[in-house]
Amino acid sequence: MKQMKKTFALLLFVALALSVFPVLADEPGEGVLRTAILYDISTMDVTKTTDDYMIPMNVFDRLFETRMIDGMSQAVGSLCTDYSVSEDGLKYDFVLREGVVFSNGSPLTASDVQYSFERLLKENRSNTDVALEVAGAEALVNGESGTLAGFAITDDTHFSVTLSAPNAGFIAELSAPFMSVVDAETMAGAKQFGTDPADTIGSGPYIITEWVSNDHYTLVYNPLYWGEEPSVKKLIVSVIPDAGTQDLMFRNGELDIIDLQGLDSAIVESSYKLLFPERIVSTPKVGLTYLAINSGNEYLSDVRVRKAIGMALDVESIITGIYFDNAVRENGIIPTGIWGHNDALPGFSYDPDGARALLSEAGYKDGDVRFELAQDNTAGSNIRLVYDAVSDYLAAVGIRAEVRSYDHSSWLDLRNSGAMDAFVARWGMDYNDPANIMYTFFGSPANTAVRSLNYADTGIMERVSAARAIVDDGERQAEYRALEQKIIGEDAAWIPMFEELHLYCLGDRVASFTPHWAGFTDFYIIDVVLK
């Protein structure tokens, strides 16, 4: 009996100990914003990433920023206050903003901009495409020259950039996060730029003060910032690898903004839209979710099969059923929200009988056409459902497209090798210019191979590449429309599906929030206003 009493006493003690814990989580301080991400960032250096733009966007400035103005996204001057273009579209003269200093007090000069361009090319990792357009870029990359020939400095605030070919999208491109301007003097002593917050110095509205891997990072307001003082003084971004946990934390008041795209849209629909109808903010995720089909495949090389696939998919039902209408149908290559988007493209209409007819015309019976739908196993639950739905719709017209799951690396490997049969993926736009998607997918044989499209028409690819240099807006738009018509309408080289909406939910401490113009997960902190 003694033991029992002791045990009871102990249990009681444990229960008591548990119940006297200070009850609530710590309250956030004034001006503090708390958000969460699913995966930690890999670097703060924008030349080394194509995904982690949050710190580059907020700690650094660019010559231009793409901002939403009256519902339209456009490039506006940031570090650059004025510019002019020569007649032939080759030479750009820029004027830098006066009196800008980096967060360590070092002043911004034209040579910093030159340094940033050259650094991008010398690092030669990713995101080099814009800088490569500058005259002399190739020579710098090859090591034939130590400086960028197309970059000429007049004085501290005046410089010019000469391109090797005219490019109508150049100013838009300069607003991409990877065109961030760093300080040449600071960089000379910054051994750990991109990994150590103390070395990662920019001129933007925020300073990165700490980054604890896999845990959180913190940004605080930069008192030397040239622009207006923002409402958020401190941002804490926690790494919470589980969307369900983020969900709980938000409901518990531990997060001020939750990115709803990690959650299945059914949850958003059934709980968030009912619980917090006024606090949901949505923005188009400018980009395109598509079904890529490999024209190099035995069956898919036949245009009739490709068209049949386009007609077999009931994209409208996918949008309604899976996305609860938080997506818009896309029929072309250039997505809604991007300059040059064509609303009038007819696209594929859902016609299973027509699809069957086309297949039998091509000489295929039920179940003859079979290929693999390769799925990246890191895909979110919505995209998984899209895969299953595509497979089901294709089965309904007699095409056997089995979903097979690959880990992320194997998936990338297979796709890059050009041997993937078909897959569903999304391309997000980096800057507001159609070349960002047209050229990437259909600009050269290498480009279509690396996405396992293996588009065959080299003549069209040359035109896609050349379209970048058309300076006249009207002409350029007409050319892109013709190309879209040919690639999608006639060749059915890939199947555009839809553009998603990116939904966020705001906690009760947030007064307003404007997401990134292209619906990135990353956003400008200055666009958040606290109550």
């Binding site: 989580a25 930690d40 080394k48 891997s213 896999n214 845990d215 919470i240 589980d242 946990t245 490997d413």
Partner: protein
């Protein structure tokens, strides 16, 4: 005794070396290019090729292995592909979290296991016995992620007693430790119960009883001491499973630990990081086993003499 320890240490080093080789070889046959994964979506194939040779991944495997071992001996485990930081630094920040978590979980498991097991054995077939054994059986049957999510829901979300996730202070470890340790608590309490039951029926206990010792005395002086042997072994073995079981708990509670690093390494095909975390965890487990072994020697005089 000293001889025994030295021999075990030598064995441990050998095992560790073999593990290093094994992990290294396994990771080389994995399909998929780690550089392509690291560079992400918008990248030029030529850049991938250049980086592959920069990182020495196009060298013969033997060269890569010896280079790795040499660097590792100097404490340099390479730079993580996916996080861009030195692996040893990442492990150094992550390890305290895993250690605290595993120790808390072990403490919970040991205390709960021994209390539940003992009470159950002494009060065999009583309501308490049923209750504790139910708790134990549930512990060994519930998948750890399920336990973690339930605890999170009840204590953090519903009752607001504790934070849902992340490491802010010592309280942050309570829920993860319970989630992680429950399974071990179940195993230990079941073992304690069955061992005690067996011993309580043995002759010398009867003798002790006959000598007039009270039941508490019997338990503490005789039964427990003998029951400790298998229990200690089990406890040490559990430590190993706690350290590696922490993978899932760490993910759910967003604790930056070794397990989560390993998961991250796998997702990002980050060979240096995976090698580092795998080697490190293995070394920990080997040390744990070694400790158990030595403790066993201390507790059991027969073994002490044999060696």
């Amino acid at each position: 005794m000293l001889n025994h320890i030295l021999r075990r240490l030598l064995q441990a080093v050998l095992v560790l070396a073999l593990v290093a080789l094994l992990i290294f070889l396994m990771l080389r046959v994995v399909p998929g290019n780690p550089i392509a994964t690291m560079m992400g979506e918008h990248v030029d194939p030529a850049v991938i090729e250049r980086m592959t040779s920069e990182l020495g991944l196009d060298q013969p495997i033997t060269v890569q292995f010896f280079r790795y071992i040499l660097d590792a001996m100097k404490g340099d485990f390479g730079t993580s592909y996916s996080m861009g930081k030195p692996v040893d630094g990442l492990i150094r920040t992550a390890f305290p979290n895993t250690l605290i978590l595993a120790l808390c979980a072990a403490l919970f498991a040991w205390v709960m296991g021994i209390i539940c097991g003992t009470v159950s054995a002494v009060r065999k077939n009583s309501v308490l016995d049923r209750l504790f054994m139910g708790f134990s059986l549930l512990g060994v049957s519930v998948p750890v992620f399920m336990a973690a999510m339930m605890l999170q829901y009840v204590f953090a979300y519903h009752l607001h007693w504790l934070d849902i996730s992340g490491v802010k202070n010592w309280k942050s470890f309570i829920l993860p430790a319970v989630a992680l340790g429950w399974n071990s608590a179940g195993s230990i309490s079941r073992l304690v119960r069955s061992t005690l039951l067996e011993i309580l029926q043995a002759d010398y206990i009867d003798t002790a009883r006959a000598k007039g010792r009270g039941q508490a005395g019997v338990l503490i002086f005789h039964a427990m001491r003998n029951a400790m042997l298998p229990v200690v072994t089990m406890m040490a073995l559990q430590l190993s499973s706690l350290l590696s079981g922490a993978v899932i708990t760490e993910s759910i509670f967003a604790i930056n630990g070794i397990g989560r690093l390993a998961v991250q390494a796998i997702e990002g095909r980050d060979i240096p990081l995976l090698q580092g975390t795998a080697l490190f965890s293995t070394a920990l487990v080997i040390l744990g086993n070694l400790a158990a072994d030595l403790l066993y020697g201390v507790l059991d005089p027969r073994i002490r003499k044999e060696s």
